[in-house]
Structures are given as C-alpha cells and as structure tokens.
Symmetry: C2
Amino acid sequence: MMRGEERRMAYDFWYWPSIPGRGEFVRLTLEACAIPYRDRAREDGAEALIADMARHDAGPAFAPPYIATDGRTIAQTANILFYLAERHECGPSGLKARYWLLQVQLTIMDMVAEAHDVHHPLSSALYYEEQKAEALRAAHGFRDQRIPKYLAYFDHALASEAGGWLAGERWSYADLSFFHLVEGLRYAFPLRMATLAGRYARVEDLHGRVAALPELQDYFGSNRRLSFNDQGVFRHYPELDAP
Amino acid sequence: MMRGEERRMAYDFWYWPSIPGRGEFVRLTLEACAIPYRDRAREDGAEALIADMARHDAGPAFAPPYIATDGRTIAQTANILFYLAERHECGPSGLKARYWLLQVQLTIMDMVAEAHDVHHPLSSALYYEEQKAEALRAAHGFRDQRIPKYLAYFDHALASEAGGWLAGERWSYADLSFFHLVEGLRYAFPLRMATLAGRYARVEDLHGRVAALPELQDYFGSNRRLSFNDQGVFRHYPELDAP
C-alpha cells in the first residue's frame, strides 16, 4: 500500500493482469529498484488496459507492457527497462555497461519470443490446439538446439564478467530478466532443463544470486507476483518437453 | 574508397555478406549518417565473420549484425542503431525522441522477425522446403492480420508526429529502418502490399521520403547495397503471397 505522495509519483504500469508474461520483466525491475508503480490492469481489469491502449494518441504502444508517466507512454520491454535504469540510476552505470546490458536484454527477449513461438509456431491468433502438431516439431528444435545455444552464450558472456553479474559488480535489469527467463524455461521444459542442469554453471549461479536478492524477497512472497500458467509466454505442455 | 585516416577511424561492421538481412538496417544508418565503416565479411568472406564471432572473449555477439570499435563489440540491431545515433549525434535528440525511437525500432524488429518466421515457422535449422506446409498456414495469418495491424500502428504513430518523420522534424535511424521494412514487405508480399497500397498514406509517404533522401542516393546506386534474395529475412515465395 503506497502513501498518497508515492501514489501521485507512481508509474502507471500496464500489462495483462492474468499472466506474468513480458510484464514480469518490468515488475522485477520496478520492485528491485523500489520504484513506485501501480499495476493498473490488476487493479482495474483487462478491459481497462484495452481502453487505455485505445486512448493514447501520442506515443502509442503496439502491445503491452508499457508504463505511463508525465502524460506519455514508454513501451517495448527492453526499452522500458533501459529507461527505468537510467532515470532511476538503478544498476551499473558507464557507457560500456549501458549498451552491453541493452544488448543482453534484447538477446533475452529474442529467446523469450522463441519460447513463446514453440507453442504458437503458426499464429498467435490460433489456439495451441489448432497448431499442436506444428508445436511438437518446433519444440524439438528449441529443446535440442536453441536452449543449449542460448544458455551456452549467456554462460560465455558471464565468464567475461568478473563480478558474477552480467555487467560489473552489481545486479542490473538484465540480471533480473535473465532470472525470469530461466524460471520460465524451468517451468515450461522441466525435463530438458533438468538434463542441462549443471552444464552451465554460471547460468545456475546467476539464477541463484537473483533468487536470493534481499530487494526481491518481499515481492516474491507477495500476491503482486503472478504464477506461470497455460495462458502465458512460458507454458508447460508435457508433450512439448523431453530430457 | 576511404582515405587512410578514415580507414583507421572506421567501424568494423560484420554481417553475412550475401543477404541484406538485419545488417541492412545498420548499413542504412552508417551510410545516411556518413559514418566510416568497413563491411568486413563482404571484404573477407563469411568464413572471416565466423572466425571473428569465435574470437571475441568479451562482449560476444549472439548473432550478427555487430560492429567492433575500440576493441569491443556492440550487437543487436536496435542497440547498434541506438549507439550510433547517440555517439555520432545523428538524428533527433532529446529524451522523448530517444526512448520513442528505440520503442519504434524494436517494434520494427518484431515485425521483421515475424516476416522471417513466415517462411521458417518451425525452425531456422530446417530448410524452407521442410516446413513449407506450415509456412503456407503461417503466411495466411501474417498477410491478413499482422501486416494490417503493424502498418495501421505505424500509420497511427506517424499521425501523432508533426514533421512527417517518426520523431520530430528530421529523419532518424528508425525512419531508415522503416523504409527497409516496407521495401522487404513489398519484395516478399507484392500482391498483398499492392492490395494495401494507399490504405496507409503516412506509411507510403515516409517510405517515399527516405527513398528520396540525398544522404542515401550514392549508397542506393552503389554495389555496397545488396539485393533481396531467397536466402534472407525477406523472401519472395509466390505461394506465400496473395492479394
């Protein structure tokens, strides 16, 4: 519960209220950086989100998540995180970290999109059941080729950083996002991720570091955090998983 | 041909040498902003790119395109463009334009990824011929739902800008990228784009403005610019197109 002043200063955060989805990447940074926000669609419902999307004439968002502040909106997950980190000086600073973290975040979002497309390979407008045969084929390549390729890349990237974080000596929005990516992969592909466990030690270590961050414990224990389910980006369809 | 001094100052630009692909978005900004660069894989071949990718211990790129400068690499198309625009002060400045242009660029890249996935809906590791039946289904939704949804969004976004560009009174990397997106859609889906021609007047206008930019005419007439072909992101498979 925010005080009145904080409530006036708070960002309006907009995302679908029933799934973690891409919104969770923004929530993690808002929470860990202690940035006041109102999760508007969870307060007022999905209809309010749809109405707000239609309302914006300037700086419209193609899709949620987006944040509204000073009468304008900022959309695209990586762009929102980049903005918040700079505006609130949350995370490593310096030019090198700045572009490197955005690069890593965009690579994380690429893998998130691929993880989504495994269960929706043909169209987001079709139900999973309407493209299940195609999803079974897509899942094979994602499990066997893409997950190892991405995790090996992140593990290699972490090897070049001394502090154990993606950039420098402290955590950044990209570390928080990477944690959620691993959470999502473990939820959606438990058998495959169990097989790969231990193969990418730095990936496991980074996930554990973020899971233990004091800045996130209150959020993790709160109902502000949504659970994965079969409507979101990461879905557990047993038939799409394998060791 | 660059002079010796420019050659020393030039960025090493790395992308697959036989396709415009995502590299073209970077080339357009390097050329329009008159930033010296060497198209390394076009000079030395794809093998040189593969060797360079393996060589970088710090700041590795998950995939091309990337630029190398001061001994480090910057990857992810939107990140490269954001870096170049800031470093070389090319394009509109100001905080609002900064995040807005990155947001638009990321939305452009989302549509680029969807356009690619139409002909590779199951896996990039499979040939088109191995997923042609799925591509036919994916193309239907992309043509009928996604192209209109994206173009209507960009048209609406342009309506909120007075100057006719995506931000402010002058062109930006996002305008250049949007031009190439429309070029790619017209190449890959000529029948569909012909049907939609005129429905999004601001989209057509912006494409024409960039096509006529004095800063790009030398590039357009040079062999530095690669033509679309059936190996790239945008491919013309007649069976995937329809009015």
